[in-house]
Symmetry: C2
Subunit: 351 residues, 2 copies
C-alpha cells in the first residue's frame, strides 16, 4: 500500500519557509533565488521527510519537467549507447535527464512509446527511429512537442536533425577498396525506407562510377533490416548474382558481420578472398575476427548536438530548424586487403 | 508554443458521450464495459482531436500508469539489452511498457533517476544497478514503490530478485580449466561491492580448492569496475604477482576482453600461452578473436521473470518476497585450451 504522499506544504511547514521557497530551493534552475542556507535547510528537510517534488504540479507551474524522451530503434545495436551517452552528457549540463524507450523497429511500438512519453509531459523528444516520411513527426507537431532527429532523418528538413554525411561515408569505403585494387565491388544496402540506407546506397553508386568500377548495373542487394542475419541473407543474394565480387561495402557493421558469416559459409576467407567494410564503427568492431574496416560516424558528438538543438528549441520554439551533418572517417583494420591476382595461386595459410 | 491541451471533456462533447465513457473506452482494461460502437467512436474522436489520456489524472483515478521504470548501470554493456528485451516482452503481455534510465554505475545518478521515475508515477521499478546494502531500496520502501532486482542483489532477501547462481557459474569455469590440465588458475574478480563480483569470487575460491589447485592463497586481482580497461589493469596486477598462471577466470566478458589486451601486451597468445574465460555470454562474445569461452547466464529469462515478479507485487503488495536463482551454463569456444607442457618447446605459429 502506498503511504500518504508528502506535499510541498509539509516541507514548508517543517522547514519554516513558504511553499514557494521550497519550490525554488528544489529547482536547480531557480536555486540561485534563495540563500544557500535556506536551500540547504529545505533540501535536508525534503530528504528527511522523503519528499519528491511532484513534476506534474511543478510542470503546471513551470510547464517544464526537465525530462527528455528518447526513442531508439534497437537496444541491442551497440551503435546507440554512445549516442545516448552524448545526449545524456549534454542534457546533464542543463539539468535535464533522459528517459529511454526501445521500439524494436516497430512503427506501432514507436507510436505507443511517443504517446506515453508525451502523456508523461516530457519537454521534448529525440527520435533515432524515424523512417523517411514518418507519421510520427505529424503526431509530434499535433502534440506541440519539440523534436529533434538523430542519425536518421525523414528527408523533409521541417524538423531539426543531426546526421552523418552518409553519401560521403560510403564513398570513403569505395575509394579505399578501389585503391587496394578492387574493381568488382558490391553493396549490401540497408533498408531503403531509412535515410541511412538510402544515403549510403546512393553514395556507393556515385563513388563506384567515379572510381571507374566495372560496367553494368551496380551489384547491390538490400537487407530487410539492420541485423546480422539480414546481412547474411543479402550477402548470399549478392554473391549468388555476382560471383566475381572481391569486395563488399556493407551499410552498417551488423550487416558486415552477416557478410562475414556468409563468406565463411562459402569457404571464402576475409580479407584474403573477399574484403568487407562496415559503417558506424560500433563498439567492439575492433574486436571482431578479423577486426572490421569501417566508416566511423561521430556517435557521441551526434548525441551531444542533438540534445543541444532540442534544448534550444524548448527554450525558443521559434528557433529555425537546423540540419547538422557530421563528417565520417574511414578506419582501416583487418577486413580489407588487396584482391588476389586472378592468375596467382595463393596457398591457404595454415591455421 | 504548446497548443491548448485537449481534455477528456472535449472528446466527450465531440463524441456525444459522458467523460467517464471516454475514460472507459480508452482504457484497455475497461474497454469491455462499453459497446464496440461507442468504443470505436470515442477512439476515432480522440485520435482526430489529438487527445492523449492524461496518465496523471488517470493515475489518480486508477492508481496505475501501466509504466515500469528500469534502472540499468551501463548502457554500453551488451549484457543488458537481452535482459531488457525479456522485461519488455513480459510487460507487453500485461499491457505495460518500460521506460529506461541509465545510471553509468553512479550512485547519485541512480538516486536521481529513481526520484524522477517515482515522481512520474511509474507503478514499480526493476533495478539492475544495486550494490550490496544499497540505500536505494530504503528509498523505494519510503516511496511505497514496488521493486524487483535483476542480475544483482543486495544480499538481504527483503526484496524480490532474479539472479544467476554466480558461485556455480564460476565453478563451471574453474572445473573446465582444471579438466584441460590447468593447475595455476587466477581470477580477475569483479567489484566486491556488487553481488555478482562477490559471488563469482567465492565460487572461484571454493572450486579451486575442490579441484586441488596449487597451494597458497588463491591468485586474485579485483577490477575497479566491470569494464575492459579495468580488466586489463587487474590482469596486469595478477600476472605481475603470479607469473606462472596459465589460465584466468574473469568475472565478466568485458573483464575477459581486458585480459585479452593485457595478454597481447605481454606477448602471450590466447589460448596457446594463456587460457581466458568470461562470464555472461554477452552478445558478440562469439565474434571476438579468439571467440570467448564463457559462462552463459539466462539473460532474457532473467528479464521475463523479473517483470513477472514485479507485476505480481503490483497486483498484490502483500505477496511474499521471492528470490529466483537461474542456473548458468558453460559455453566452450576458442579462448581456452590445454596448457603448454613446461618442458615442451612449441614453435610460434606463423601469422
Amino acid at each position: 500500500m502506498r503511504k500518504k504522499r508528502i506535499t510541498i506544504e509539509d516541507v514548508a511547514l517543517e522547514a519554516g519557509v513558504h511553499a514557494s521557497t521550497v519550490s525554488r530551493a528544489l529547482n536547480p534552475g531557480k536555486r540561485a533565488l534563495v540563500s544557500d542556507v535556506v536551500a540547504a535547510r529545505v533540501a535536508a528537510t525534503a530528504q528527511r521527510l522523503g519528499y519528491t517534488p511532484d513534476p506534474v504540479a511543478a510542470g503546471l507551474r513551470t510547464r517544464r519537467s526537465a525530462t527528455i524522451g528518447i526513442l531508439i530503434p534497437d537496444i541491442a545495436n551497440p551503435l546507440f549507447p554512445p549516442i545516448l551517452r552524448g545526449i545524456e552528457a549534454a542534457l546533464a549540463e542543463a539539468g535535464y535527464t533522459a528517459i529511454i524507450a526501445n521500439t524494436d523497429n516497430d512503427a506501432l511500438r514507436a507510436r505507443d512509446a511517443l504517446e506515453r512519453l508525451a502523456a508523461r509531459r516530457v519537454d521534448g523528444v529525440i527520435l533515432a527511429t524515424v523512417s523517411r516520411r514518418d507519421p510520427l513527426l505529424d503526431r509530434c507537431r499535433k502534440l506541440g512537442l519539440p523534436v529533434v532527429l538523430v542519425n536518421r532523418s525523414t528527408g523533409g528538413g521541417a524538423t531539426s536533425a543531426v546526421l552523418t554525411d552518409d553519401e560521403a561515408g560510403a564513398a570513403l569505403a569505395v575509394r579505399h577498396l578501389a585503391l587496394l585494387g578492387h574493381r568488382a565491388i558490391g553493396h549490401v544496402a540497408g533498408p531503403q525506407r531509412l535515410s541511412t540506407g538510402a544515403g549510403r546506397r546512393s553514395g556507393f553508386v556515385a563513388a563506384r562510377r567515379a572510381v571507374g568500377g566495372e560496367s553494368g548495373p551496380p551489384p547491390i542487394a538490400e537487407a530487410a533490416s539492420y541485423g546480422i542475419e539480414a546481412g547474411a541473407h543479402a550477402a548470399a543474394a549478392l554473391l549468388a548474382a555476382h560471383p566475381r565480387i572481391t569486395a563488399i561495402v556493407a551499410a552498417n557493421d551488423l550487416l558486415a558481420l552477416g557478410c562475414y558469416d556468409e563468406a565463411r559459409r562459402r569457404g571464402l576467407a576475409c580479407p584474403r578472398d573477399i574484403s568487407i567494410t562496415g559503417f558506424n564503427d560500433m563498439p567492439f568492431a575492433d574486436r571482431f575476427d578479423p577486426p572490421l574496416t569501417t566508416v566511423r560516424i561521430a556517435q557521441r558528438a551526434m548525441g551531444v548536438e542533438a540534445a543541444r538543438l532540442l534544448l534550444a528549441e524548448i527554450e525558443n520554439p521559434r528557433s529555425p530548424k537546423r540540419e547538422i551533418k557530421l563528417q565520417p572517417e574511414l578506419v582501416v583494420r583487418g577486413s580489407t586487403a588487396q584482391p588476389r591476382g586472378p592468375s596467382l595461386t595463393v596457398p591457404r595459410r595454415s591455421r
